[in-house]
């Protein structure tokens, strides 16, 4: 047994990581990301297996059903690379073992990926970029694109290497405390930021006028009748600087009253209403169209 050990080079692993960018390219309703996974594995298969039969077996093995979060396929790819390398060097790793590791990891990892990437990182970066963009600032899209892709590529490469080095140990490692901490931390941060976004970005503004408020004596400036001397003018200006109202009545709006409770309250209530309706299986599309209709109707009625 003096046969030389075949191992994957760093450039093989980089090629796999790059191809994992195209994981979902042939996403289909039958086996989902299966061809994408096989496509990503090709540089490794080329290195490890030289005969046509071995290559056919490897390609077929990786055309089985696969579906996870596109970024969290990377640690799975890493582990699979380690397994394939062992197998090519003669270890007794059969098809079911490889498939078992892939299936075992894809579910829980997708469960981390969705809250972390789609519901925490992207909304935060997106809202940051969008808030700049709405003001016409080109830095909005640039920051979003650059930061996202640095994070993404760093994550893909690091987790694939992590999976490759940890080999099949990764499943034991992640099913314990780390997995739980990441998931819980992400959902705490996610809920916190969601509340922030609801407060800041759900705009429900009423323009409805309420009867004007009469101010108490002393809360407004008593303008003298007739001519105003220099000293009197100085006094009036002083009173105005002191915060006294110029008129006996101040206009009062529904919005001002609501804002004095807590800003963003109506946006929060609207969000809760949407959550309730979604739970009642109302389609989001109907809700979106409905809110546009409500916006137009309330605007025509001069309420909003």
């Amino acid at each position: 047994m003096t046969e030389e050990r075949i191992s994957l080079t760093k450039s093989d692993r980089l090629a796999v990581a790059w191809r994992s960018t195209f994981l979902q390219g042939s996403w289909n309703y039958e086996r989902m990301q299966n061809l994408g996974f096989a496509y990503a594995m090709i540089p490794a298969i080329k290195r490890l297996y030289k005969s046509k039969e071995d290559r056919a077996a490897a390609l077929t093995r990786h055309l089985e059903f696969f579906n996870t979060h596109p970024y969290l396929a990377s640690p799975i790819l890493g582990v699979t690379l380690a397994l394939e390398e062992e197998r090519a060097n003669g270890a007794a790793i059969d098809d079911t073992a490889v498939q078992g590791v892939k299936i075992g990891m894809m579910g829980p990892l997708a469960g981390i990926g969705d809250p972390v990437f789609w519901f925490t990182v992207r909304p935060i970066l997106g809202a940051l970029g969008a808030s700049l963009a709405i003001a016409g600032n080109i830095m909005g899209p640039i920051i979003f694109f650059v930061v996202w892709n640095i994070l993404r590529w760093g994550f893909l490469w690091y987790t694939q290497e992590f999976g490759y080095k940890a080999g099949s140990e990764i499943t034991k490692d992640l099913s314990g405390g780390l997995l739980k901490d990441i998931t819980k931390g992400a959902s705490i941060l996610g809920m916190f930021i969601l509340a922030v976004l609801v407060e800041r970005w759900v705009n429900v503004k009423f323009v409805l006028e309420l009867p004007a408020k009469k101010l108490a004596e002393g809360a407004y400036i008593n303008f003298p009748k007739g001519d105003v001397s220099g000293a009197k003018l100085q006094e009036i200006l002083g009173q105005q600087a002191g915060g006294l109202s110029l008129t006996k009545e101040v206009p009062n709006t529904l919005q001002a009253n609501l804002d004095s409770l807590v800003p963003g309250l109506m946006g929060l209530l609207l969000t809760f209403l949407c959550m309730y309706l979604l739970k009642k299986k109302v389609s989001p599309i109907i809700l979106i169209v409905g809110l546009f209709v409500v916006g137009v109707v309330l605007h025509v009625l001069h309420i909003m």
């Binding site: 969008a130 946006g267 209403l273 916006g295």
Partner: protein, 270 residues
């Protein structure tokens, strides 16, 4: 639009279509896609504003498992083309452009489904190639399926460009102000739907207090999103560490794991 702009618009649309399925570079997100359309047509800033507005609406849209969200790629590309062809870039017209994005996002859903169904057949071809141990045809099939996803956006973009600008303009100009202003107001509320979807998915009894914290702190307008993000990370880390400490101190030697109330456990330990 000049010929060069049209070609570039189609390329951008194609890339956005590809990204709509890959979800990697995020070229299909309105923030990027609308900006790129603006860049190649020479109307950068209005398209950046449109992209930012649409992005707010699409923050919570994500493809989960086999489910597809409304198609942001088609929504962003088509609404940007409509805005540019309309030739009028005030707030009302931007509102109309993203109002048009909603039905397009829904229409896009069906296009995605069609391509995902066609891909089933293509992948069967890949099975045959794999059995023969041939790598090249397998790669070609993968790229073909990806290309179809690109065409899914590029073809509607071409159709939109072919409609003469004057008819797009007169259609947009015939929209009265009460409607476009009302749509702007509706647009401010529509974002609630996206957040509601996400909150429904994430909310548990344990994490609701963090929602309350976030809402109360967001009212402090001096705090930027980045500052609030830092507070959120800190709270999450503190909570996770605290729940471990609580478990350890109460469990003692038996490794029992606490009462499930971390703050109570810490207080008990004093």
């Amino acid at each position: 639009m000049s010929i060069i702009s049209i070609i570039l618009v189609i390329i951008v649309a194609f890339l956005a279509g590809i990204e709509g399925i890959l979800d990697e570079f995020q070229l299909h997100q309105p923030l990027i896609a609308c900006t790129l359309i603006g860049l190649v047509t020479g109307h950068l800033i209005p398209c950046v504003i449109l992209g930012g507005t649409l992005q707010m609406m699409a923050l919570g849209w994500a493809n989960i498992g086999a489910a597809v969200a409304p198609d942001v790629a088609l929504a962003s590309i088509a609404s940007a083309i409509i805005l540019v062809k309309g030739g009028n870039f005030d707030a009302g017209h931007i509102a109309l452009a993203y109002g048009a994005a909603i039905p397009l996002a829904v229409a896009g859903l069906f296009l995605t489904m069609i391509v995902r169904t066609i891909s089933v057949g293509l992948v069967h071809g890949a099975d045959a190639a794999a059995k023969r141990g041939e790598i090249k045809p397998l790669e070609r099939i993968h790229i073909t399926a990806l290309g179809l996803q690109g065409l899914r956006i590029a073809i509607p973009a071409i159709l939109l460009i072919l409609i003469p600008a004057s008819s797009v303009q007169s259609a947009l100009n015939s929209v009265p102000h009460w409607l476009s202003d009302g749509m702007t107001i509706g647009g401010g509320m529509v974002v609630a739907v996206g957040y509601a979807l996400v909150i429904n998915m994430m909310a548990t009894r344990e994490v609701w207090p963090f929602f309350a914290l976030g809402f109360a702190l967001a009212a402090v307008s001096q705090l930027t999103l980045i500052a609030l993000g830092a507070i959120g990370v800190a709270i999450a880390l503190i909570y996770i560490n605290l729940s471990k400490m609580g478990g350890g101190s109460n469990g003692g030697g038996s490794n029992g794991g606490g009462s499930g109330d971390p703050v109570g456990d810490v207080l008990n330990a004093y």
